[in-house]
């Protein structure tokens, strides 16, 4: 089929074969990890995959308008998807890593709240600049009424634009995205930290206290790197801009979940191999 004859799919169609290949790849990587490190390694890899999936799913909620939003031509935050999600998620990772001694549950939730708080402040300041700095009210270009507040949107779009600012549903989406991304990043960090804390003392012939700074640094670097892998992957899935959970592009999330799981599994497997071989 030529490119001209191909039906436009808006990049949103699911490809069952690709999804099945992704799931098979995931199982193969899990199997390889079980072969290399059946206990500690596999537990860490599952933590990394869950964290990666949370980041991939959470990034879909973040309302990002890219360059058109910077001119008030489209709703959302005027920056890149991956960059904003990374900013929020890493702010969450900062808090989560600090709370690591308090246990996995508390640290993960702390990381999530840190990411959510970053997004809440950023989204509020975005609307502040639009309203008080530029005199422009928030309006969605994708729905006639805000799904949460029921506010009508169409008449608040200025002429020749797709909308502007952050309607309430986008604000809520941003906060949810920040929470999921922050929790995901922290989970990856904690999973790898546990693995490195247990394996580094034997590997480096040193005491637990001596290897702790190295374990923290290596786990932190891997967490940041895997965060960017998942955020960028999702940015491709939503092709640049998204308004939030009410945007039709949001329905593409199952594809990103599979992709994030496979990418996280592969990256996590490499992170495990440095101590397992």
């Amino acid at each position: 089929m030529s490119a001209v004859a191909a039906k436009p799919q808006a990049g949103g169609a699911m490809n069952p074969t690709a999804m099945a290949v992704g799931v098979v790849l995931l199982i193969i990587i899990l199997g390889a990890c079980y072969y290399v490190s059946p206990n500690l390694g596999l537990t860490a890899l599952i933590g990394v995959i869950v964290g990666g999936v949370l980041i991939g799913f959470g990034t879909h909620f973040v309302p990002v308008g890219g360059a058109p939003a910077a001119m008030g031509q489209a709703p959302g935050i005027a920056t890149g998807v991956a960059m904003l999600a990374a900013g929020a998620g890493l702010a969450g990772l900062f808090g989560g890593a600090w709370a690591a001694p308090l246990g996995t549950t508390v640290a993960t939730i702390t990381g999530g709240i840190g990411g959510g708080l970053m997004m809440a402040i950023t989204c509020m300041m975005v609307n502040f600049v639009y309203v008080y700095g530029m005199g422009i009210p928030a309006a969605s270009g994708k729905v006639l009424h805000d799904p949460i507040t029921g506010d009508s949107q169409a008449e608040f779009k200025s002429q020749g634009t797709e909308g502007h600012g952050l309607p309430f549903v986008s604000f809520v989406g941003g906060v949810i995205g920040g929470i999921l991304a922050g929790a995901g990043g922290t989970l990856i960090y904690l999973a790898l930290l546990d693995l490195y804390k247990a394996t580094f003392p034997t590997l480096m012939s040193a005491t637990h206290a001596q290897v702790l700074p190295v374990a923290v640094s290596v786990a932190g670097m891997f967490a940041v790197a895997m965060f960017l892998v998942n955020a960028v992957l999702t940015a491709y899935n939503i092709t640049g801009t998204i308004e939030g959970p009410h945007d039709p592009k949001f329905k593409r999330w199952p594809r990103a979940i599979v992709a994030s799981a496979v990418a996280s599994a592969l990256c996590g497997f490499v992170a495990i191999l440095i101590v397992a071989i």
């Binding site: 910077a70 001119m71 508390v106 609307n127 530029m134 020749g160």
Partner: protein, 299 residues
């Protein structure tokens, strides 16, 4: 008790440093047209509008600042390992990082502008001479403040991450907060000052940026001066609030109920910001009113 008072003092200092960093970051990126509004600076010559705006977009602001802050912090860390005084080490590390920023800015301007040669856009040597140093000065303030607050978090508050990793994280967050808050003000309010106030830029006007000032052609230092007042301040407040509140809730409330206190305060703060945001949205709808009648818009 002493620990908590000390922690609050350090938290206040980090918040102040973050505010200055956010403000300087946004102004630096606006002078260099580094954020999303850069698309219009790049587009304008292609639409026949030649200009004298600096155009140094190396990457998005978050990864660029992640790199520069991590570089400054890594070098500062190395100097501190050589027993250099911490303040001097941070200053030296940031100076070296700023030189890297200057190299990127110069090559980005030359490369990006040279790619527009077929549309007749000249490469102005005087722009490189006058603008690069101004962006470097602002970048130094932003990088120094970020690395200094990371040193406080690491050294005084005891965060487990090493200094370069903290600087990478907060550098990316700085770029994210600064570009999110500051970009619309530069992109809409300054580049399209010839469009109607209180409305978005019509898509048909894309590329027709304002190129003339009160006297002669507009340059990027004018843009930095204009956007600093609202865009820069808002970015500073945004990043300052993020850093301050994140550390404040941890320092004061993490000991309550084994970490759940800090979580509860975090949730409460998210709710407070949600209410403020909703108030701003409703206020705008009531005071500015719709652009068209509801029925007409639905049609």
């Amino acid at each position: 008790m002493e620990n908590i008072v000390f922690g609050i003092g350090i938290t206040a200092l980090t918040g102040a440093l973050a505010t200055v960093a956010g403000s300087a970051e946004d102004t630096e990126s606006n002078i260099g047209s580094q954020g999303d509004p850069n698309s219009q600076v790049q587009l304008a010559p292609q639409m026949g509008f030649l200009h004298r705006i600096f155009n140094k977009a190396v990457a998005g602001e978050p990864p660029a600042y992640g790199l520069w802050c991590a570089l400054g912090a890594g070098l500062a860390w190395a100097f501190m390992a050589m027993q250099v005084n911490a303040i001097l080490a941070i200053v030296l590390g940031c100076i070296l990082a700023v030189f890297v920023q200057g190299v990127y800015a110069t090559t980005a301007y030359l490369g990006r502008t040279a790619s527009l040669a077929k549309f007749g856009q000249p490469v102005y040597v005087d722009i490189i001479k006058s603008m690069t140093t101004v962006t470097m000065a602002h970048a130094f303030i932003a990088i120094f403040c970020t690395v200094a607050l990371c040193q406080l978090i690491n050294g005084a508050l005891g965060h487990p991450f090493p200094l370069p990793l903290l600087a990478l994280i907060w550098g990316i967050a700085l770029g994210a907060a600064g570009s999110a808050t500051g970009n619309p003000y530069y992109g809409k309010e300054r580049q399209y000052q010839n469009q109607k106030f209180g409305a978005g830029v019509p898509i048909s006007a894309s590329g027709n940026i304002v190129r003339y000032a009160e006297a002669g052609e507009r340059n990027s230092i004018d843009n930095g001066f204009f956007t600093h007042k609202i865009g820069g301040s808002a970015s500073g407040i945004c990043f300052g609030l993020i850093v301050f509140l994140e550390i404040w809730r941890t320092i004061l409330f993490e000991r309550i109920y084994a970490g759940w206190g800090a979580i509860a305060v975090g949730v409460l703060m998210i709710l407070v910001f949600t209410v403020i945001d909703r108030y701003i949205e409703v206020w705008a709808r009531k005071n500015y009113g719709p652009y068209t009648a509801a029925k007409e818009a639905d049609a």
